[in-house]
């Protein structure tokens, strides 16, 4: 294989692996948006929140990861339940913009609460994913990226299966189509909301562990989690497979641009290039590349 090609593949695969994580986090947004029409700004804060609890419990109290991670998942379910009771339920018939603003409130409340308990210093979070490089032919991959991408891939597929194949998934899609009709068949919206916010919390735990392991647990994780935004612009807020494919496109596009365009433009490209890709697509399809088709009533 020519060296240029193997280098290209190396960059591409690295980008796709990172993109898988973006897809996963974007799915957290999509599920909440489908079930409640709320754009959950707090998703990124949930990632940092979860990572701070895991790293904090481990470092301060020596809780092993096999215990700290499940405990944090339980905690995130509790958080979902509290958010539903305290924030969403009282606001249920308000305008979407008010719901959106309330998630900005949740964003700061979560980070504030976590800092109150664990302080604001950054911590490392090493759960033992190997960091060694691996050679495949001429190509060099980071084993960390492979493991993280693999975990994300499995979870993304599980979530897609959940939405398409399970009873709760079907209920969730029904609620996404018509809240009122869903209530008319006996579905309690509050139950569905706790479920989707819990899933978003679970996604945050996974993203928190994976990114925390790479970057350390610190506020910059929030920025990385916001990489899900261009993914959503591109894939559409309501489409599950849209989120998956758009995550891969953004991940690959971003790392290819960094390597091939970065030197020309002058580096630092990965922070904004994803948005350029997304906006270029948006000009052609405002509802997102895979946004759910709006069915016109006959």
């Amino acid at each position: 294989m020519p060296i240029e090609l193997s280098f290209f593949l190396e960059v591409l695969v690295g980008g796709l692996l990172a993109g898988m994580m973006y897809s996963l986090v974007a799915l957290g947004f999509v599920l909440i948006f489908k079930a409640s029409g709320i754009f959950n700004f707090a998703q990124a804060a949930m990632v940092l929140f979860a990572a701070m609890f895991i790293a904090g419990m481990h470092q301060r109290y020596g809780v092993p990861f096999w215990l700290a991670i499940p405990l944090t998942i339980v905690l995130m379910i509790g958080v979902a339940w509290i958010i539903e009771r305290v924030v969403l339920r009282p606001l249920v018939n308000q305008e979407p913009i008010i719901m959106f603003m309330s998630t900005i409130g949740i964003f700061f409340a979560l980070i504030g609460f976590a800092e109150m308990i664990w302080g604001s210093r950054s911590r490392s979070l090493d759960i033992g994913i190997p960091q060694d490089p691996i050679f495949v032919g001429d190509m060099l991959f980071q084993s960390y990226d492979l493991v993280a991408g693999g975990i994300a891939l499995v979870l993304v597929l599980l979530l897609a299966l959940f939405a398409q194949r399970t009873r709760m998934g079907r209920v969730l899609r029904a609620v996404a189509d018509d809240h009122q009709a869903a209530q008319a068949v006996g579905i309690r919206l509050s139950t569905v909301w706790v479920v989707v916010w819990s899933i978003a919390g679970f996604v945050a735990v996974v993203a928190g562990v994976v990114w925390g392991g790479n970057l350390g647990v610190q506020p910059v994780m929030v920025d990385v989690a916001f990489k899900a935004l261009p993914v959503l612009l591109l894939g559409g807020l309501t489409s599950i497979h849209g989120a998956i494919i758009a995550g891969l496109i953004i991940g690959a596009g971003e790392s290819l641009a960094e390597v091939y365009l970065g030197p020309i433009i002058g580096g630092g490209i990965d922070n904004w290039f994803a948005y350029v890709i997304a906006m270029a697509f948006m000009v052609y399809r405002p509802e997102g590349m895979f946004g759910e088709k709006i069915i016109e009533r006959i």
């Binding site: 018939n93 079907r170 899609r173 996404a176 009709a181 008319a184 068949v185 069915i295």
Partner: protein, 275 residues
């Protein structure tokens, strides 16, 4: 209102109910009606009379539209349900088929029916056998079982909405304007199925309709709503023979009938503005 004969307490009893939207708009101004188990009761009236509001008030779907009952009582099967959340009412056998069909558009026909059984907590296999029973009433749905519901025809969507409600095994169905936008023959077909469901499945119906003609043909009893009040009620046959109903709602009688019907509409619209 003791005109309706029958010894047993009615399945549904609504007394003097007032409904207000957004804390200010008074839409139902003291509506009383009752429905006996096993009856088909028609709720008639023109645009904006308050038919849908009445049904939403009974099913509990007002809350989602910032509407609330400010006065009166609402009893179903001897229980005060006026403050019960909608899903709890479904669990007690009270199902609402909303105006405009409202199927889950992106779900297939069969998935819609599956979701319809949500309140019963039955297994997938049980739900599938229930679906087969629904298909017996609506063979056309079976042919389209895998189709995306949003792309089926208006008639099929109306059947699906009714079939989805049946999946909850309701004791009473609140059916809102099943005739809307459908060809006369289809309307007839749907009312025929309603009659069969009452007879074979013992489902009680409260049907809101503008199509007075068809509704009264199948109903045992009827109420006529105007501007948030019951202005007339009686057995289906009595209403059909009533001169005012004939003139204003059935559009039969003198050669002036069509014109006067339109006049009445104008008059009513004006009255709504003033109210």
């Amino acid at each position: 209102m003791a005109e309706q004969t029958g010894e047993a307490a009615p399945l549904l009893d609504m007394q003097n109910v007032e409904v207000v939207y957004n804390h200010v708009v008074l839409v139902l101004k003291g509506v009383s009606l009752h429905v006996r188990e096993g009856d088909i009761v028609a709720l008639l009236g023109g645009n904006g009379a308050g038919k849908s509001t009445t049904l939403k008030c009974i099913s509990g779907l007002l809350t989602g539209e910032r509407g609330e009952i400010t006065r009166g009582s609402l009893t179903y099967d001897g229980e005060d349900i006026s403050h019960m959340p909608a899903p709890a009412r479904v669990e007690r056998g009270l199902s609402h088929v909303m105006e405009g069909r409202r199927v889950f558009e992106h779900l297939s026909v069969e998935e819609n029916l599956m979701v319809g059984s949500y309140s019963r907590k039955i297994s997938g296999a049980e739900a599938l056998s229930e679906i087969e029973r629904v298909y017996e009433y609506f063979p056309r749905l079976k042919e389209r079982r895998k189709s995306t519901a949003g792309y089926t025809s208006g008639g099929e969507q109306q059947m699906l909405a009714l079939g989805r409600a049946l999946m909850a095994k309701p004791r009473m169905i609140l059916l809102d304007e099943p005739s809307m936008g459908l060809a006369p023959q289809l309307v007839e077909e749907i009312f025929h199925i309603v009659s069969r469901l009452r007879k074979d499945e013992k489902v009680t119906f409260l049907v809101a309709e503008q199509n007075t003609n068809v509704a009264l043909k199948h109903a045992d009893f009827g109420y006529i709503l105007e501007n948030g009040r019951v202005v007339l009620y009686g057995t289906g046959t009595d209403l059909k023979e009533n001169a005012d109903v004939k003139e204003f709602y059935l559009g039969v009688g003198s050669g002036e009938a069509r014109k006067s019907f339109r006049n009445v509409k104008h008059y009513r619209r004006r009255k709504r503005w003033l109210a």
